[in-house]
Symmetry: D2
Subunit: 344 residues, 4 copies
Amino acid sequence: MKVAVIGTTGYGGIELLRILHSHPVFQIQSIHSTKGEVPIWKEYPHLFNINDQVLEVINPEEIAEKSDLVFLATPSGVSGQLAAQFAEFNIKLVDLSGDLRLKNTDEYTQWYKHEAAPKEIIDKAVYGLTEWRREQVAGAQWISNPGCYSTASLLGLGPIVKEKLIDPSSIIIDAKSGTSGAGRKPTRTTMHAEMSENFKIYKVNEHQHIPEIEQQLLEWNEEIKPITFSTHLLPISRGIMATIYVQVQKGVTLSEIYKIYEEHYQNDSFVRVRPEGHYPAVKEVCGSNFCDIGLHLDERTGRLTIVSVIDNLMKGAAGQAVQNANIMTGLDETTGLTFIPMYP
Amino acid sequence: MKVAVIGTTGYGGIELLRILHSHPVFQIQSIHSTKGEVPIWKEYPHLFNINDQVLEVINPEEIAEKSDLVFLATPSGVSGQLAAQFAEFNIKLVDLSGDLRLKNTDEYTQWYKHEAAPKEIIDKAVYGLTEWRREQVAGAQWISNPGCYSTASLLGLGPIVKEKLIDPSSIIIDAKSGTSGAGRKPTRTTMHAEMSENFKIYKVNEHQHIPEIEQQLLEWNEEIKPITFSTHLLPISRGIMATIYVQVQKGVTLSEIYKIYEEHYQNDSFVRVRPEGHYPAVKEVCGSNFCDIGLHLDERTGRLTIVSVIDNLMKGAAGQAVQNANIMTGLDETTGLTFIPMYP
Amino acid sequence: MKVAVIGTTGYGGIELLRILHSHPVFQIQSIHSTKGEVPIWKEYPHLFNINDQVLEVINPEEIAEKSDLVFLATPSGVSGQLAAQFAEFNIKLVDLSGDLRLKNTDEYTQWYKHEAAPKEIIDKAVYGLTEWRREQVAGAQWISNPGCYSTASLLGLGPIVKEKLIDPSSIIIDAKSGTSGAGRKPTRTTMHAEMSENFKIYKVNEHQHIPEIEQQLLEWNEEIKPITFSTHLLPISRGIMATIYVQVQKGVTLSEIYKIYEEHYQNDSFVRVRPEGHYPAVKEVCGSNFCDIGLHLDERTGRLTIVSVIDNLMKGAAGQAVQNANIMTGLDETTGLTFIPMYP
Amino acid sequence: MKVAVIGTTGYGGIELLRILHSHPVFQIQSIHSTKGEVPIWKEYPHLFNINDQVLEVINPEEIAEKSDLVFLATPSGVSGQLAAQFAEFNIKLVDLSGDLRLKNTDEYTQWYKHEAAPKEIIDKAVYGLTEWRREQVAGAQWISNPGCYSTASLLGLGPIVKEKLIDPSSIIIDAKSGTSGAGRKPTRTTMHAEMSENFKIYKVNEHQHIPEIEQQLLEWNEEIKPITFSTHLLPISRGIMATIYVQVQKGVTLSEIYKIYEEHYQNDSFVRVRPEGHYPAVKEVCGSNFCDIGLHLDERTGRLTIVSVIDNLMKGAAGQAVQNANIMTGLDETTGLTFIPMYP
């Protein structure tokens, strides 16, 4: 099966290449970028002698002719326009940007600060939170791949929200991400000298993943109220931890909660619910497609602390994208994704 | 004025030496440790040619004779015993450990997992959260210096709790610390290869600073309920950020909140309330005695996010200790503490 | 084919598990340690739900019965003793320690500061610098896997030394390693708070890899004189860079040098000689078995600068060990080793 | 005494502000930049409530009228032009750029790749390697402050070169710097995600500090031949280590070498020659104006390894600039510079 990657030179795109290189079924037919016809190893020297492909211009018609599936690893604002160009062709598509995630276009404009893609384009895409949407993903032609913070938060919250065991107005997510999440465009904020030995909070209650998270939470439980959501920058390249706080309904015990999480995720290869008293660290998933979850119920307060960690470039981007692509094309979802975390 | 430092070879002790070296009034009379008579520069080579003092054994009587004030930078469990030995002598004392912080000895035993110091020893000490206790500090002979997490949390919460503008059961503190906070004893958890590119949560709702924080909160507002408190390890040496979430009373506006914070801290040299829309980063206080505070009220949820950052070894330990010692001895509290943050 | 791993809980051992997990031929029959019968995931939580094996005691006879090959990832001093116990059994063995590397036992004692293994034990092992010793490795029953610094240095120096194009007394190696190279035993030196934002030199001209490097250099060119060798600790987990300086013979040009390197390594999948003007960075090989080499000839001085980088746990330890095991057992040497560097 | 800082928003400029803030004699009269009239704390929030100065445009005449001394913390290419504008005014000047360092303008153009400043402008400035040029500095009106790599290298090499105890063609400098050395302009190379867990070599034998170092070495010993010089980027904000290799003359012993270094630097407050067997680490000088030196003579090779570390923003830039300014204005050279290294 042949795949194309557009937006290859971003960190999401380059992580797609890492996965696809050893994928037993998908073959990288072509890689694309607006950078001009440069060998990819000149942009990313770690690929020297591994990948000798040259970046190509973006010609949707030609791509659709030659490939079975296209990954859009392009930024929000660009992906929507590209998707529209692919709409007339018969090619599967997985978009890693935020452009196809929000069904409400006004909400998109409000949080992303620019125009949304046309509604009919957005509606073509299934929101690919794989563990919660396998059947829809299997039947989809287009996937809108979830955001990195959203994936960590939603996998952490899913079972307890779906089972309606929490106060619906009590959700607080304190999220922390490595700097690769900010993309590859050089900025003052993400310079090494500024981030080394540093830790920053940013976009307090203003991150564009908020409406995406709420949209999914409301699908699980329509009584869910707006969430509190803080994002922080960690002095690491990769990895996200979402520390989530919710008030559980009176009388709910930790063993009930464990039961729910374990049942919900029992068949999910990439979600690991850690045993009681164990909490995942970011590096324990990095390089892999795992989302690890730890749970603590404080009897003094009745508050549940959920710890959810992912590699933002894997389960938070390229890994989940390939997982969805696997399902869309009839493969086992773990195909080409059985990386063990790289530790230490 | 002459001061002695006990427990010099820990990170708190060595930071005391950094401050005292340029303090215009306090002179380091002697430094003490159980390590034997070693020149301090052999333990800490950065002090070569700067400090030629030799570590001495701990003889309270002799120390009390030669010095006006003693800093105990010893671990919890040790400080209480040392304090008891100093009780009969007329020397001022600042203890950086947790041993004299909790007025309730049962609570101490429950959280610290070993016996508390005798009640009468504990009661000799004033809890030295400087900005909120200046008069008591001024009259004290003994100070129990607050914990690092406690300092960041309490300075962040003080005004809004004192003014009773929040739901008393809504306090959630998501705290993150650099690894120097874990002390200088080598452990698996704090090895570089384990922490580099990592981020860990630990002691979820089980950290021994919880009762210390609650004791102070209850003094401000006796209706305060148990807090939710998570601690995380950052891959940096120094620095703490506490991201704090509270539900404000209906109708309270952000400008009212700012007014309260600014009034409470208007005469406090070391607390900087950042302007609206600005949030402090950890590195913006490192090396200094500042506690910087940022505030965000989310109108969608009525929840206030308080961001409080300190250098755990300065305002969180040695800096606040010297600030208290200054006040106890009649000096201006900023004496010897006017370090600018080291950036970048 | 069945393999056993002894010394599993060190960083070399755990990297062997990462590789072997996806190796298509080798199966991990058993894992061993002196830690007692603990599930490996309890020591390394990133293996939760991935590897459910339990650490076993070390019984050479039983291991030799059940497995075809054993990896000793045990420390120097331990490996030699274990190897002696395996000598009477018919099992292939790859030792990752320094115990079987030096043919001269007096030299071993001098540099390692303890007794060498018996000479006949040492002589059973072939020094497994794979790219330069494939035939011997193919016929070997025992392999002594090269040290991490040695691998980076020797692959960088091999072609130019072998071709006798340098002043034999001019070799200077300035080597830098991540902290995982210091092992998993907690020490002051390798604590995060000590290494973060730091860079240290250690064992100046005293590192135990010096005699190992010289032994191989002398085999290539018996006129080689003692080398200058400095080791530094980088504030990263993984990765080694050796910056090597040699005086080339008069008249030798950079294009001749390139020709030699490219010819020597033309069939070596894991050595990448970078094009002129390009120099490898440590992160461009991390997670992979590559050794990347950059070359610069300064016409002002006639000195060649050789830059050689590896992942110390891969090509510098577990990766090369599996590469050797592949060859010993008749497999293609790249089997199970086609990891792409993880970037960023 | 009043001083002005031009180029305040670079890392060198901001470090000048850190020093000058607590300098007992120099007062910051004005700060300048091409950024427009912005309060400096908006560019550097760590200065909030500490420094309320506003950046001003650069008007040499006005600056010369109001201040006694001006620091140029502007980039190479800019400083030369500014210096020319100050030439007609009677103001002391310390330039931190490379523009006034090379007496040979052709050499400047060759290494800096753009036109040199006019020869008469360059000749007005004394090269301020303080420890070796105090008398000239004392009498100077203009100082050209040495480069960061140059300072570490020259202080390490000075005594042994001056005493002519080495083979003049044997100097190799393997230098490593933190990323603040690359300046504050965002670039791909210095992004956090690219540098974290990384280590890079760059400008192999092509760094513009080479002619500066050679110019000084030749002044000490005219037989010195071109040096080999490699620069590497460390994943830390601050700090430089130069590991230097030289061949000593036959018969020279380590104790003779120590004697020479200790004699040369016996009255130098900021140079610390470490005792035999001790080597400085980068963090042991960070935040301070020290240059620490370690020495090792390998008897097997007759080669001396010199380890020299500085904080690139202090002794490598702003610290040495203030040290020179102190001397130029008749102050003790340590005035305002007695910072202890910040450790850990």
